[in-house]
């Protein structure tokens, strides 16, 4: 036995498996379609391994509880969908400015508002980036298979711990409810990152001091003798509020830079048949599956087309897409929204190539046929 397990499971279940493998020991949530299974499975599994689950009175409270539990030392997660994601945004911003590691899963459904609760969509791409107010860092990753959901949930926790920031796992309804055979790897072979603890005494410890050569301040749970202060106000290295312009500027720039300057580490993507491609399609999440099939069909007809699949959706893969734009004549961005990601692609690729869109917002998937038709139309 090498510790591997073969299982048939849905994306929402793989998310919980991944989270537990990453060390999640606290989950707070609120029922919402199509993410509810993540809460249900967490409720069942966590107490068995000494972890804690709580169903809070609303989405806002579950985000607050997640931050509180993380401050008390547990790796924490919540899961939601569009309307709940909106409600969580204020506290996501709180986690961003206070640098509290946590993972927020958004299994996207049709919006705006209650929209199409049981149908897939990718309409929260911009909400994942700019849902909370003010300039802030964010990391968002988006899986396109059940197995990848498992892997990316672990990555999401690792990024959260390494960069001390909220990380969004941006799923969609298809991936959440899709059942696939997956091989769960031996946990011992998976890289797990934990927040760095201070090696200084409580007297010397400054909760927001970044040590030489490190990315983020070191973090210690409440209750271990360090007695520090955490506030959502602009604060200095000591953690206490400040209204000094230089302190404000330094903090916000540091928060944004810790992600921007480490993009190479955070940028995940897949390239498929792009070596000789004259046109390529950019797609992510479940849409990328249709695109992959469409690319195969197009290749059979001799059309030189490839797929570029962003796995890290934020920070934006500007370097990779810029380089690709120099190599090809045309780019098609296929997504289940009206062009939220395409706008960003146009921003970096317009100099060298034309960017076309293939969109759908009616609650149905974009089919391989539709993508193939678009490829032929622009090719």
């Amino acid at each position: 036995m090498d510790g591997k397990r073969i299982k048939l499971m849905q994306g929402n279940e793989a998310c919980v498996e991944g989270a537990i493998a990453a060390g999640m020991r606290f989950f707070a949530g609120y029922p919402i379609t199509p993410s509810t299974e993540i809460a249900e499975i967490s409720a069942e599994k966590l107490p068995k391994i000494g972890g804690k689950f709580i169903q809070m009175e609303d989405e806002i409270a579950s985000m607050g509880a997640v931050i509180g539990a993380s401050l008390a030392g547990l790796k924490s997660m919540t899961a939601t969908s569009g309307p709940g994601f909106s409600l969580k945004q204020e506290n996501i911003g709180y986690a961003a400015i206070t640098e509290i590691p946590c993972v927020i899963v958004n299994v996207q459904r049709g919006g705006p508002s209650t929209g199409l609760p049981t149908a897939p969509a990718q309409g929260d791409v911009m909400q994942a980036r700019w849902g909370t107010h003010g300039d802030h860092p964010i990391i968002a990753v988006t899986p396109s298979s059940v197995r990848e959901t498992f892997d990316l949930t672990i990555k999401a926790f690792n990024f959260a711990e390494k960069y001390r920031t909220p990380v969004i796992l941006l799923m969609d309804e298809v991936i959440g409810h899709l059942r696939e055979k997956i091989e769960i790897p031996n946990i011992e072979n998976i890289e797990i990152i934990d927040r760095l603890r201070p090696d200084k005494s409580p007297q010397e410890y400054k909760p927001y001091e970044v040590l030489e050569g490190e990315i983020v301040p070191r973090m210690v749970p409440y209750g271990e003798g360090y007695r520090f202060h955490v506030t959502g106000l602009i604060h200095d290295e000591t953690g206490f509020p400040s209204t000094k312009p230089d302190v404000a500027e330094k903090l916000i720039k540091r928060l944004v830079d810790k992600i921007e300057l480490n993009k190479d580490d955070i940028s995940l993507y897949e390239e498929y048949m792009i070596e000789d491609a004259e046109t390529f399609v950019i797609a992510y999440g479940s849409t990328a599956r249709s695109v992959k099939y469409a690319v195969k069909l197009a290749r059979e007809e001799g059309i030189k087309v490839g797929l570029f699949r962003p796995i890290t959706i934020w920070p934006f893969l500007d370097k990779q897409i810029y380089e690709l734009s120099k190599k090809v004549k045309k780019i098609i961005v296929a997504e289940m929204n009206l062009g939220q990601y395409a706008i960003e692609v146009e921003r970096v690729a317009h100099k060298y190539t034309e960017v076309y869109r293939c969109n759908k917002v009616n609650g149905e998937l974009i089919s391989p046929d539709e993508i193939l038709a678009k490829i032929k139309e622009v090719y």
Partner: protein, 273 residues
């Protein structure tokens, strides 16, 4: 020279506090610390969580594990902390707007769960930080910047609200009755479940000025003269109690505490192995 109490439990380099002259929040803050001192609880094991507003600034001055959260949400953060580490003595400091308006949902549900958190609301009947708007505890007829013609809302009786929601310790005192605050906070901390202590506090700058209540001394005297002990109030008519501060212990009972109940579930799986 600061007193021993101040020296031991406050972040001296963060004082003086930002509260206006005459504000009674400092009295309430000191009373909380005095209660912790009386109970001889290690500072490292105390976590104080606050929301947004004048009262919520207290956490910055108090030398414990402290968390200044978002508006109304202190109890939800505190719930996560208590769940993650039930050994911590978790105390929430909040105001009337913070806990009864924007945070009202968290208040009633924390009480319903009977989670081991002691909540102290500094009730000054007004939004002070934003300049004097009416709150859910502003009396009917009172003035505020957003009720320039008099408040037509009915105000919450927070103690009755929280008692009905399931809290296991509910008490009220005023900033004038310092010893009562101290003993109530002590009792609240000793109670395993959800404890709620409402302290009538004064805001001479906004509530007092708008409602022509005189200076801080006048307002403190008002608290003194209009407070009725709950035992005396029991013998009075509703008409006689109207507009008065009924103070004392409203409710004290025992019921399963949330994190202990959850631990039982965890333990049941450990036994299975």
């Amino acid at each position: 020279m600061p007193s021993k109490l101040v020296e031991n439990y406050f972040r001296l380099n963060k004082l003086p506090h930002i509260w206006c002259p005459g504000c009674s929040h400092g009295i309430v803050m000191r009373a909380i610390v005095k209660a912790i001192d009386n109970l001889n609880i290690d500072k490292d094991n105390v976590c104080i969580v606050s929301g947004i507003g004048c009262s919520s600034r207290a956490t910055g001055y108090m030398d414990f594990n402290t968390l200044h959260t978002t508006h109304g949400r202190a109890l939800s953060f505190a719930t996560g902390i208590k769940m993650a580490n039930p050994k911590l003595e978790v105390i929430v400091i909040t105001g009337d707007g913070d806990c009864a308006a924007i945070g009202g949902n968290h208040l009633i549900h924390s009480a319903r769960r009977n989670i081991g958190i002691t909540t102290i609301v500094f009730n000054n009947n007004i939004y002070g930080m934003t300049g004097g708007q009416y709150s859910p505890t502003t009396p009917r007829g009172a003035l505020g910047t957003t009720v320039p013609y008099g408040n037509i809302d009915s105000n919450f009786d927070l103690c009755q609200l929280v008692k009905a929601a399931g809290a296991t310790y509910v008490a009220r005192s005023t900033a004038y009755h310092t010893n009562m605050i101290i003993s109530q906070v002590e009792e609240g901390i000793k109670n395993k479940g959800f404890s709620f202590i409402e302290v009538a506090s004064i805001c001479p700058t906004y509530f007092g000025r708008k409602n022509k209540m005189g200076n801080a001394v006048n307002m403190m005297n008002y608290l003194k003269e209009n407070s009725i002990n709950i035992k005396a109030a029991e013998k009075m008519t509703e008409e006689q109690i109207k507009g008065k501060f009924v103070i004392g212990e409203f409710h004290k009972t025992s019921r399963a505490e949330y994190t202990e109940e959850y631990q039982k579930i965890i333990d049941s799986f450990q036994k299975e192995r």
